[in-house]
Amino acid sequence: MLNKVSHKKRWQLLYAVAIATSLGLGVVLGAQQFSAPPLAVAQLLPAPKTIPEFALENHRAEVVDATVFRGRWSLVFFGFASCPDFCPLELQKLAKLLNLMGAGDALQVVFVSVDPERDGQEKLANYVGFFHPQILGLRGNNQALANFAQFFGAAYDRSAIVESKLLTIPAGINLPTNVGEQYQVNHSTRIFVVNPQGEFVGSFTSPYEVENLLSDMQKLMGR
């Protein structure tokens, strides 16, 4: 009889342990799910990186520094205004995202021109305004642009045929005067995500569907 009771107790204990374990596992998995929602296109950095101080000019000819990234989410894209194919495609997608999000000032798209010799302030203003009023254009001197791009890991250079030879002008170097107007800008395709604390948190690259980007930004922004 005594033996029977202890046998029953043992089974009860085993059941209790099994239930507790599965509950615990559920809580742990649930917490993991909660802390890192699966993202469709964005790749997050292991740790956020604070954007260092910089000085660039916006498309309204105002000097901007790192505070431009405070208090709102930003998507940063490096390109140039005379880009016939890739930049318009990306900016149209980002403009579509801004419309779908309807987040107002909580989300901005930042277009950084890496072609300051051709993209003056007025040209940049016309350019970004054409795609969406919430796109902020940034420009600056070659060295400041190169430092800013390097922080994100956004590679770019310019190339031209000068006297039948291919000339590559690295990031940060002023365009030599003998290059003229006919040159190419080879630039990063990545779009960088910055949180409202002014920290670079991740990036994504094409090809991607705007709907997937929308769901990622909604998750990141907690909307």
Partner: protein, 143 residues
Amino acid sequence: MNYYNKFFTCVLLAMLAGHGAAQVQVENAWIQLAPPAIAVNAAYMTIHNPQLRAQTIVGVSADCCAGVMLHKTRREGDKVAMDHLEHLVIPAQARVQLAPGGLHIMLTEAQEELTLESKVKITFSFGDGSTQEFDLDVKQSEP
């Protein structure tokens, strides 16, 4: 004499048919509207070659613009660059797509800024010496 006339008519018709066979079909052609004061546009389309032999486009011109180039947007890791193509082969019974992010015709040095009202005529020159014209509208975004 009558016999010879008929013979030459047949030869002429055969030559014309042969000339016609050098042509491709251009489908869904359009030009991307550029932002104001940006004098660079891209033209996109699908080129269909229904013939049994490949067709090679060796030259492109446009009535709107002095600068016309066949380009291909190329990815180099995370970077994007543009390649200038000297010619474009349309394989037999195949379609080649000129679409955003890939192949396109770059239009520069326009006589007048292209607007949504502009009508553009593009001419392809083929390797066999034949040419083909087609019309394009300017659109805000991909139709």
